[in-house]
């Protein structure tokens, strides 16, 4: 701070605190709702402080699901699906893009720039706007209701390839030169030198892609018809839209908490990597 203005400093703290409160409030209310019983959550005003049904609600949701009438897939299973999808997307994306970036940066071959641009254009068009034909393609490949169908179409994007390309370009040429002089094969160079050097970039990207995969919504909503393949985020949204005469807000909000918790924990505990990944993928 340049000069000392106690009132202005106080005002700054105050405004940021208001921001923090705005950000926290919806989640606090969700948490509170998930700790009460059903009857409490049907009367306005709803309580502002947590109740005593926390363990009971979460146990019900995890082991039995929301309610019998809409099918009752235990959320434990749905959480595992989300985890499989998030990990699959993160690992898949990193794996295919790191080798593609390696090829583009470290080799000269015909049509190199053509491939580069072919990957590049995917940056521009997210799956949401070509959702109908993509669904058709996945259906005709018989990939509806499968983990492959959940994961593979989502990993077709160029962000990760570009990140690795940028990183590889910043690696000193001397390393590749030395490897060549010593007679190392390209793959040997990749495994023993490039990959270890990329560790931080890989970790940062993993954090971002894990969140991206976990939070996929429209795609799993479309291609899954069996509950055994539902993911957490889409289940919460689906359930919220079911017109229910006596809604179980307590259970729905417990499900919402479960859908938020893993990615939020990742951001909080891997903040440094998260920030780095976010900044790098947007370069």
């Amino acid at each position: 701070m340049v000069e000392n203005r106690p009132f202005f400093t106080f005002l700054s703290h105050f405004i940021v605190l208001v921001g923090v409160l705005i950000v926290f409030f919806p989640v606090w209310m969700t948490f509170v709702a998930s700790t009460h019983d059903q009857a409490t959550m049907l009367r306005a005003p709803v309580p502002l402080l947590p109740g005593t049904h926390l363990i009971e609600n979460y146990r019900t949701v995890l082991l039995e699901g929301y309610g019998q009438r809409f099918g009752s897939n235990p959320m434990l299973h749905t959480l595992i699906n989300s985890m499989i999808m998030a990990l699959g997307v993160a690992i898949g994306k990193i794996a295919i893009s790191i080798i593609a970036a390696f090829a583009i940066v470290y080799f000269r071959f015909p049509a190199r720039m053509f491939f580069f641009w072919a990957i590049f254009v995917t940056l521009m068009l997210p799956v949401e706007i070509r959702i109908v034909p993509t669904y058709g393609v996945v259906a005709s490949l018989g990939m509806l209701d499968s983990y492959a169908g959940l994961i593979i179409p989502v990993i077709a994007s160029a962000t990760a390839t570009f990140l690795f390309r940028q990183f590889f370009l910043s690696v000193p040429d001397e390393l590749a030169e030395a490897a060549r002089v010593d007679g190392a094969s390209p793959m040997r160079f990749f495994w023993d030198i490039l990959l270890p050097m990329s560790r931080t970039s890989i970790a940062a990207l993993f954090v971002i892609q894990f969140i991206y995969g976990w939070n996929q919504y429209l795609w799993p909503l479309l291609i899954t018809t069996k509950e055994s393949y539902y993911t957490m985020v889409m289940t919460v949204s689906r359930q919220a839209n079911v017109v229910d005469s006596v809604p179980s807000w307590n259970l729905l909000m417990a499900m919402a908490m479960l859908a938020m918790l893993p990615p939020v924990l990742v951001v909080v505990f891997m903040q440094r990597l998260f920030v780095r990944g976010l900044v790098e993928t947007e370069k």
Partner: protein, 293 residues
């Protein structure tokens, strides 16, 4: 930029590229081509009977007042989401940057909503404003405002905007804070010595230096409002009541999957693709300039 030292191998680079190229071909180029192809066909919803109709689908769109309504709505919605989101996050970032003690703590408290899926954010905000038990709706009723987003279109739009801004706030905040922290302190100090107050320093020094970040975020936020808010709308209003919150990306989905109007939906996809390509182009042009800034 190119590498000076490369490896020689005829087959290997193609093998390395193959997985990504295959995935891109099958799940990107094929569907995109199909979208373009479908946009010039009229298809029977039940059989494979389709007719080549040139640009009839586009003509139909351009003669459809509903489409223009959705375009207008999307523009208003993007303006609100980007405007409100950028203004709030800039305010918070400037304030957090001022308080050196605690800035990092505030950052931790403000960035985690990034991890909340828009679809889940929609559920959360729907709960707060639920007409029968929502705490905010109840409080508004206490001061005489009847808030029912299920039947009131403007209120539904407002709620969708709020939930969308909430989700995007942390992203904007993070980039604004990084931008602020990269402004040399000496500039601010020099201005302060010359007698410029905090407001003057902000508008004459900080704001211009922050404008590249601001412009970058503007493009990102507009793209987010166009596409990323799908989950919010789907969870909260599903485009309703009526068509009060049916922005273009939701209309593509609604017409294609619910209305079974494949040609019309594909034509909308193609138009959106063009807009997005233009936006991305603007973004890249700008990023190139930012490097020389």
């Amino acid at each position: 930029m190119e590498k000076r030292v490369t490896f020689d191998n005829r087959l290997l680079p193609y093998l390395l590229l193959a997985p990504q190229i295959v995935v891109t071909l099958v799940f990107f180029f094929w569907p995109t081509a199909q979208a373009i192809w479908q946009s010039v066909l009229i298809e029977d919803a039940f059989g494979g009977n389709s007719r080549f109709v040139w640009f009839e689908n586009f003509e139909r769109l351009f003669n459809d007042p509903g489409y223009y309504a959705s375009v207008r709505l999307t523009v208003v919605f993007s303006f609100l989401v980007a405007g409100l989101g950028l203004a709030l996050s800039l305010l918070f970032a400037v304030m957090a940057d001022r308080v050196i003690r605690g800035a990092e703590t505030y950052k931790t408290f403000l960035i985690w909503p990034y991890a909340v899926a828009p679809a889940v954010a929609g559920v959360l905000w729907g709960f707060l404003f639920n007409p029968s038990i929502g705490i905010v709706a109840w409080m508004l009723q206490g001061v005489g405002i009847e808030f029912n987003y299920v039947i009131n279109g403007n209120q539904a739009l407002l709620l969708v905007v709020l939930a969308s801004v909430w989700t995007q706030l942390s992203y904007n905040f993070l980039f604004f804070l990084a931008g602020l922290q990269s402004i040399p302190r000496s500039l601010i100090e020099a201005a302060a010595i010359d007698g410029a107050g905090p407001g003057r320093r902000f508008w004459d020094i900080v704001f211009p230096l922050l404008s590249p970040t601001g412009f970058f975020l503007l493009v990102i936020n507009v793209i987010y409002a166009f596409i990323g808010t799908f989950g919010v709308i789907s969870s909260l209003t599903q485009g309703g009541p009526g068509r009060a919150t049916e922005i273009l990306v939701y209309k593509v989905y609604n017409d294609g999957f619910r209305g079974q109007d494949l040609g019309g939906s594909a034509a909308q996809s193609v138009l959106m693709m063009i807009v997005l390509v233009l936006l991305t182009f603007v973004q890249f042009r700008f990023i190139e300039r930012r490097v020389h800034y």
